[in-house]
């Protein structure tokens, strides 16, 4: 299902953006078609680059696909589920990022070095927010795997949980935006190399490898969409309804991203760290909310 969602996801973002800016825009499947074109093409490799540059895209994609395996859906457990699987999730994505970064450095281009270094800094800064949020999940439900956490999320029947899950959703959206290098941290459509983050890292990729990188990015969006879905939708609900909601949420997520990208300017590069650290602060608010919900702070 994540695969299917990923299929349409980028197209929807693109369409929303076009509509918002008053154009008709390409069809929803255009990005998929782009990938097919890329897969058919040959490649150009920089003379400076070595083996790392060639294997990195495949490793990054594999890490994202593998991370997908621990995402649960509805009442069913994830394909593989164990205590602390979210740690595995986060660290595996970090592995993919590690390779993306060193691949960029492999080209010996100063622009790509710049992008690599920004990406490394931002993903480092976003890490605490993600872990604090998951810490609050674990504290709230008493479970430590994605599947168990989300099946027990609404079990208490306390309606204030909604406040908490909304904070969670907000954080997930922002983390997804940063991890995928979208606005306001990075603008994928910028045309100046100096101001890029992610795009500049893959300047020298072409053909097959570029296709793999794009597939990876789209999948990552869908993965975060799926996470939001399991936060929002109680696991006890009807399966058909859940599937419908899953796609609805993915759709809304894509539209939201499209809208954000249409109506917001990118941050100044120097402001980005502050912006990302704010997320940790918000995660701490979530922590306080959970302290209250579990009766640790106020009985």
């Amino acid at each position: 299902m994540i695969l299917m969602a990923a299929f349409f996801f980028p197209g929807i973002i693109l369409r929303t953006k076009s509509l918002a800016s008053g154009r008709k825009g390409p069809g929803v499947l255009q990005p998929v078609k782009d990938i097919m074109v890329l897969l058919r093409k040959g490649s150009v490799f920089s003379e400076t680059s070595g083996i790392i540059f060639r294997i990195a895209p495949a490793i990054t994609l594999a890490s994202i696909v593998c991370a997908m395996l621990v995402i649960p859906f509805g009442d069913d457990k994830a394909l593989i589920s164990f205590d602390g699987d979210f740690l595995f999730f986060a660290y595996l994505l970090a592995l993919g990022k590690f390779f993306a970064i060193i691949a960029a450095l492999d080209t010996g281009s100063s622009f790509e070095g710049m992008g690599a270094n920004r990406e490394a800094l931002y993903s480092m800064l976003v890490e605490p927010a993600f872990f604090i949020l998951l810490g609050t999940f674990a504290m709230f439900t008493g479970y430590t795997s994605f599947s168990d956490i989300f099946t027990h999320f609404y079990i208490t029947g306390n309606h204030y949980v909604l406040i908490y899950s909304l904070i969670g959703i907000y954080l997930f959206i922002q983390i997804a935006m940063i991890e995928n290098s979208r606005l306001p941290v990075d603008d994928p459509k910028t045309h100046l190399e100096l101001t890029m983050v992610h795009e500049v890292m893959i300047l020298d990729n072409s053909g097959f490898d570029k296709a793999l990188i794009h597939i990876g990015t789209y999948l990552k969006f869908a993965v975060y969409g799926a996470l939001m879905c399991v936060v929002l939708v109680p696991a006890e609900w009807n399966l058909v309804l859940q599937i419908a909601l899953f796609f609805a949420i993915q759709f809304i997520f894509a539209v939201v991203i499209g809208l954000i990208e249409s109506f917001r300017a990118r941050n100044k590069m120097t402001k980005n760290p502050k912006f990302i650290l704010t997320l940790s602060a918000i995660a701490l608010i979530a922590f306080v909310v959970v302290l209250i919900l579990t009766g640790k702070l106020i009985n």
């Binding site: 680059s49 790392i52 595995f88 060193i102 010996g108 604090i132 504290m139 430590t144």
Partner: protein, 661 residues
């Protein structure tokens, strides 16, 4: 029987001095291998047998009469780690020391091999000796032998200075351990680690524990008593840095854990102290590592970070002991101890390869390197695997130990009170940040050193190091992969150490072992997936046109390696954030507005260790100033000195008369 062989090996090590220069290495290697075989056999028996204790009475002529080697699982665990790292280090040393063979004389080599052997023996003895006096003797031998190893290149004045600094700091640490042991002796009558439980059950625990913690902590390198570490590691030859960082500093951890298993009261306070100091060590170590230009100093700061991670695990274990939370005890101590093993693997690997790079390029300055992957592909691959493992990324070994520590924290969040929840949550965030910073640091280290193109002419002559330096490292790679992918095989024995030493049994519903095997499965899936994708890519590329071209330079047509990102520029945006804490200094000539054709400009960054300035440099300088003032008394006239002696005697008389002394 074995014990006798072991003692004769100790004696035979003196033979190194008598052997001809060319055969010294083989002689030392032989002694080492026999000893490794014997001690490993002892250790493995402990793990296999159901009996928890094995006492091997050894009477060493130069030690206390009651000298006993006691091997329990904790000791056995450390013996195996020591054996592995030391053997591989010595095999690696064969190639590494070759260039020095003609320039240094026979005695220097004898001293080097002899010290190496005795560093090895003393570490074995430290982890098996219980008697306090004997312990101090072997602890001292460990400090002395490692000092001799560090100053192998003593022709350089700075190295000698570093060595002395190291020696002094080790003795300060020893003073603390001695004090602690004496306090114990005074009230129990025996100076031994076995007397600790008796002492701790009847006296205040915190003071003595803190003495031990400072004493052992100097060896381990906890912030703020780490200042010898980033100096000594770069100064030592690489196989020695590998062994020192891989196992010797872990002797400090061993001491702390050994004492902790005896502590009876005030566990919560002690646990919180350890946890906080460890979090600070972890963060500070990695934050300093990022801004280093010296490859080996960078790795040295990472040792501090990893000691921090180990400490976080141990601190959690102690908090678990205080709360009677069995799962937390096992996960905390288990994760910490497993990280001891893991760190000894990947840190030694990284140091050996940093040594190979130095061997090939004769520089440790990262800024001058670049593009080495093409010249030294195997070294680069080893370094990459080491980097991934040290960042705690799956499917390598570092992930498993960090995972255990994380799970321990996450699991105890739900049941914890308000203050503990806050503490745990901040530790989680800190550990996550440490992980992120480590990724930042090693993408920099690997990317700048091995990728891109060469930043200076010195790289042109670089070549892959010889096979004898590479082959032993495959063993480390094997273990790194094995712990990452077949984790249960290693996690279960480590947990059995904790169960035995603390006396707890895993509670029912303890699912971590199941989870660990799940990680192995998903790690396997990941490896398969990567292989499949790469194979697909390989066949896909076969019938496509593949062209080589220059790197895209945004239309700039005269790119040069100097345009590449350097280590400093890579760390720049991070430094802007962290500089209020790190106080790195940047000096540069500015380009004036009118200068249309600027001349040669200078740009320098200097990083300094804030803690080192505050903890060692400042007090030492103050002390020197004081001494200068006192030096007024040193007039050089014999009459004055006789007067001093006379005043002193008078003082003694007066004080005795009033019964003051």
């Amino acid at each position: 029987m074995n014990a006798i062989v072991f003692i004769s090996l100790l004696m035979l090590s003196f033979g190194v001095f008598a052997i001809p220069k060319r055969f010294k290495y083989y002689y030392a290697l032989l002694i080492m291998l026999i000893s490794v075989a014997i001690t490993s056999w002892w250790a493995l028996q402990i793990f296999r047998g159901s009996g928890s204790f094995s006492e091997i009475g050894v009477s060493l002529p130069f030690l206390h009469s009651k000298f006993l080697l006691v091997i329990d699982r904790l000791s056995a665990f450390f013996i195996l780690i020591i054996n592995l790292t030391v053997t591989i280090g010595f095999l690696y040393a064969y190639g590494y020391l070759k260039p020095y063979f003609s320039e240094k004389n026979s005695l220097r080599f004898s001293i080097h091999y002899f010290s190496y052997l005795w560093l090895y023996f003393s570490m074995l003895l430290v982890s098996t000796t219980r008697d306090g006096f004997s312990f101090l003797v072997v602890w001292e031998i460990m400090a002395l032998s490692s000092f001799l190893l560090v100053i192998f290149d003593a022709e350089e004045r700075s190295i000698m200075k570093t060595g002395i600094n190291y020696l002094i700091q080790m003795h300060i640490g020893m003073a603390f351990i001695l004090t602690a042991l004496l306090i114990v002796e005074k009230s129990t009558g025996t100076m031994s680690f076995d007397a600790l439980p008796e002492y701790f059950s009847s006296h205040s625990n915190i003071l003595v524990f803190c003495l031990f913690f400072i004493g052992f902590g100097i060896k381990a390198g906890f912030v703020p008593i780490h200042t010898w570490l980033p100096q000594a590691h770069p100064a030592a030859p690489s196989h020695v840095s590998g062994v020192m960082s891989g196992v010797m500093i872990k002797m400090g951890i061993y001491g702390i854990v050994r004492v902790l298993f005896s502590v009876q009261q005030d566990l919560l306070v002690i646990g919180v102290i350890i946890l906080i100091i460890s979090v600070i060590s972890g963060l500070f170590g990695v934050m300093m590592a990022i801004i280093q230009h010296d490859l080996k100093r960078l790795l040295a700061y990472h040792s501090i970070e990893n000691i921090g991670i180990i400490g976080i695990g141990i601190g959690l274990g102690v908090i678990g002991m205080a709360n009677h939370n069995t799962a937390l005890i096992i996960l905390g101590f288990g994760g910490g101890l497993l990280h001891v093993l893991n760190h000894s693997l990947f840190k030694a690997l990284l140091f050996y390869n940093a040594g190979s790079v130095y061997h090939a390029t004769h520089t440790r300055n990262i800024e001058k390197m670049g593009g080495l992957m093409k010249k030294m592909p195997v070294t680069a691959m080893f370094f990459l695997i080491g980097s991934l493992a040290i960042c705690g990324l799956p499917p390598f070994n570092g992930f498993i130990s960090e995972y255990l520590i994380y799970v321990g924290m996450f699991k105890s969040l739900a049941g914890a009170g308000l203050y503990q929840s806050i503490l745990l949550l901040f530790s989680i965030a800190a550990l996550a940040l440490i992980g992120g910073l480590a990724v930042f640091c090693f993408t920099k280290a690997f990317g700048i050193v091995f990728l891109g193109s060469a930043r200076s002419g010195e790289m042109e002559h670089a070549h892959e190091v010889e096979k004898s330096m590479l082959l032993p490292q495959w063993v480390i790679i094997f273990f790194i992969a094995a712990i990452g992918l077949a984790s249960s095989v290693f996690v279960i024995p480590v947990m059995s150490i904790v169960s035995e030493s603390v006396g707890v049994i895993a509670p029912s519903g303890f699912t971590t072992l199941h989870s660990v095997s799940q990680i192995s499965i998903i790690g396997g899936i990941f490896v398969v997936l990567v292989t499949v994708l790469l194979t697909w890519r390989h066949f896909h590329m076969k019938n496509k046109t593949v062209v080589a071209g220059p790197t895209w330079g945004c239309g700039y047509t005269a790119p040069s390696p100097k345009l590449q990102y350097t280590a400093t520029s890579y760390a720049d945006n991070y430094l802007q954030l962290a500089n209020p804490l790190l106080r790195s200094k940047v000096t540069s000539d500015t380009i004036e507005g009118e200068e249309y054709f600027p001349g040669v400009k200078r740009f320098e960054t200097h990083s300094k260790d804030v803690v080192k300035t505050a903890m060692t440099d400042a007090p030492v300088n103050k002390f020197l100033e004081l001494l200068k003032k006192i030096a007024v008394m040193q007039t050089g006239q014999i009459q004055h000195y006789i007067l001093y002696a006379f005043v002193f005697m008078l003082l003694i008389f007066v004080l005795t008369y009033f019964n003051l002394i």
